[in-house]
C-alpha cells in the first residue's frame, strides 16, 4: 500500500464519521418518549380522531382549525366519529391533555420538533 499512513487516517476519519450515531449513543440511557394521558383523556378513550391519525396528522388538524377559526370564525369540527368538537387548542385539546410537559413535549423533544403553537398561545406554567 502506498501512502499507507494517509490512507489509514482517511479510512479512520470516514468510519468515525459514518458510525457517529453508533458511538454517540454509547453510555447514554436511551430516553423513550412516554406521553402520559391525563385521567380525562383516558376516560374519553378516543381523541378527536383515531389514534394513528392523531399521531401523524394532529399538526395539520390544528393548523386547519386555526385558519378556519381565525379567518371564518368556524368554531365547530365534525369528527369522523360523528361527534362535534369545539376548535380550540387551549379549551379542547388542553382540557384532556392538560400537561404540556408530560404529553406534548415527550415526543416533540424526542424528535427535535419545536412547534410554533406557543409563539401565540400562552404556554401552560408547569413545575418540575
Amino acid at each position: 500500500m502506498y501512502d499507507g499512513v494517509k490512507i489509514i487516517i482517511g479510512i479512520i476519519i470516514f468510519l468515525v464519521l459514518l458510525l457517529f450515531p453508533a458511538w454517540y449513543q454509547v453510555g447514554k440511557a436511551a430516553k423513550v418518549p412516554d406521553p402520559k394521558l391525563a385521567e380525562k383523556a383516558l376516560k374519553a378513550e378516543q381523541c378527536v380522531e383515531p389514534k394513528l391519525f392523531m399521531k401523524t396528522q394532529h399538526m395539520k388538524l390544528l393548523d386547519e382549525w386555526r385558519d378556519e377559526v381565525v379567518r371564518s370564525a368556524d368554531r365547530y369540527y365534525q369528527s369522523s366519529s360523528g361527534k362535534t368538537y369545539y376548535k380550540s387548542l387551549q379549551v379542547t385539546c388542553m382540557d384532556c391533555h392538560s400537561s404540556k410537559k408530560e404529553f406534548c413535549d415527550q415526543c416533540h423533544d424526542y424528535l427535535g420538533v419545536v412547534p410554533y403553537c406557543w409563539d401565540c398561545h400562552i404556554e401552560p406554567k408547569e413545575n418540575g
Partner: protein
C-alpha cells in the same frame, strides 16, 4: 446502448426495487427482513466495499507527480508561481483539495465549445453543471445530516441548527392546506429539483446523452426515488387523505425513530403502524448504500485520491523513484557468447574471446587442414 433503452432499463430496475419491499411488507409482512436485515446487510456491504475500493486504489502506484495543472509551476525565483493551482508543498495541496472537495472547482472550469458564428469556435461560460452539482451535493448532505435526528438521542445541537436553517421558510397553507406541516424543509425540494435538472441536462446535451449509460441513469433515478418517497411521507399525507380518504403516506415518526434507534444500538425492534412507504424508502436507501462502492458514486472516496489534485508538483525538487522498477534481467553479449561460444565456433561465427578448449580444437583442425 441506445439512450432510450438505458433510461428504460434504469426505470424498470428502480421500479422493481420499489415493488420488492412493497410486496414484501404489504403482502407478506416481512417487516423484519426489510426493516432490520436488509439495512444491516447494506451498511456492511457499504463499509466493506468502500474499504476494498480504497485499499485497491492505495495499492496502485502513482510514481510521478502529474503536472496537468492550470497554474505556473514553481521554478526560478523571479517567476511568480501559482501556489494553489500548481502547489509545490503540502499546504498548497490541502487548499487545492479543499477547493475541489468543497466547491467542485473542476466543474467550475467547465466551458462549452460550440460553433456559434458560422465556423468560428466559441468557448462559452457554462456554469449550470457546477451550480446544479453544488445544489445537489449540499442539499443531499443537509438531508442526510437532518436524518441524524432519527439516529441520535439526545439529538446533537448541530442537527437542530441545520434543521432550523433548512426550515426557515414558512409557507402557511400554500400550496394546499396541510402541505407545509410539520414545516417545509427546503433541502428536500432543492435535491429533487437539482436531480431533475441533472437528468434533463444529460438528455438535452447530445454529447452527454451519447455517453450516458444505465450506470448514469440508475443512480439518478434511485436517488429521485428516495427523495420522492421521503417527500411523500413528510408532506403529502393530508393530500392523500383529502383525495382518497385514506392516508397511506404519513408515518408516525416516533415509531420510525424507535426503529432507527434499534438499528443504531444493535437492539433492533420493529414498531407497529409504520406504513409500507417507509419500508420502500428504507429499502431504496439500503440499495443505494450497497450499490455505492461498486459504482461511479465511489467518486466520494475517489476525489480524495485524484492524482492530478492531491499531489504537489515537485518533480524538479524531489526525486521520485518508480516503485515498480525491479532489477531487470539482462543478458549481455559477453554472457551470450559465454553461453553459445562452442556452438558459434563450430558454426564458424566470429567470437570475441576464444576459450582454451575451442582454441586448441581450432588450431588442431587448422593444422590438419594445412597438412592435407
Amino acid at each position: 446502448m441506445n439512450f432510450i433503452l438505458g433510461i428504460l432499463f434504469s426505470i424498470v430496475v428502480v421500479s422493481i426495487l420499489v415493488f420488492i419491499p412493497w410486496i414484501g411488507v404489504w403482502a407478506w409482512d416481512l417487516r423484519f427482513v426489510f426493516g432490520v436485515i436488509v439495512p444491516y446487510a447494506a451498511i456492511a456491504i457499504f463499509i466493506m466495499g468502500i474499504l476494498y475500493r480504497v485499499i485497491g486504489w492505495a495499492r496502485s502506484p502513482v510514481p510521478f507527480r502529474i503536472p496537468t495543472t492550470a497554474g505556473q509551476q514553481k521554478s526560478l525565483a523571479w517567476i511568480k508561481p501559482n501556489r494553489i493551482d500548481n502547489p509545490s508543498n503540502a499546504f498548497g495541496v490541502i487548499i487545492r483539495m479543499a477547493f475541489e472537495v468543497l466547491l467542485f472547482r473542476s466543474l467550475f472550469r467547465n466551458t462549452s465549445l460550440e460553433f456559434r458564428q458560422g465556423n468560428r469556435i466559441t468557448y462559452e461560460w457554462e456554469k449550470w453543471l457546477w451550480v446544479a452539482a453544488l445544489a445537489f451535493h449540499y442539499s443531499f448532505l443537509v438531508v442526510v445530516l437532518r436524518h441524524l435526528r432519527f439516529f441520535t438521542e439526545p439529538i446533537p445541537a448541530f442537527v437542530h441548527w441545520i434543521e432550523n436553517l433548512d426550515g426557515f421558510l414558512e409557507m402557511g397553507i400554500a400550496p394546499f392546506s396541510g402541505f407545509s406541516l410539520p414545516g417545509i424543509l427546503i433541502s428536500g425540494f432543492v435535491l429533487l429539483a437539482a436531480l431533475t435538472y441533472l437528468f434533463l441536462r444529460r438528455l438535452y446535451i447530445s454529447q452527454t446523452r451519447y455517453i450516458s449509460l444505465p450506470a448514469d441513469y440508475f443512480p439518478l433515478f434511485l436517488i429521485i426515488g428516495i427523495a420522492t418517497t421521503g417527500v411523500l411521507m413528510r408532506y403529502m399525507g393530508a393530500f392523500m387523505q383529502f383525495i382518497f380518504g385514506a392516508d397511506w403516506f404519513s408515518v408516525p415518526v416516533v415509531n420510525v425513530k424507535e426503529l432507527a434507534m434499534g438499528l443504531v444500538t444493535f437492539h433492533p425492534v420493529i414498531p407497529e403502524d409504520i406504513g409500507t412507504i417507509f419500508y420502500i424508502h428504507l429499502f431504496l436507501v439500503s440499495i443505494l448504500l450497497a450499490y455505492f462502492p461498486f459504482s461511479k458514486l465511489m467518486h466520494m472516496g475517489g476525489i480524495f485520491l485524484s492524482p492530478t489534485r492531491n499531489l504537489s508538483n515537485n518533480n524538479r525538487m524531489v526525486r521520485h523513484v518508480n516503485p515498480w522498477d525491479y532489477p531487470v534481467k539482462t543478458h549481455t553479449y559477453e554472457e551470450y557468447e559465454d553461453e553459445f561460444r562452442e556452438k558459434m565456433v563450430e558454426a564458424g561465427l566470429p567470437v570475441e574471446k576464444i576459450s582454451e578448449e575451442s582454441a586448441e580444437d581450432k588450431t588442431g583442425s587448422s593444422e590438419e587442414a594445412e597438412k592435407e
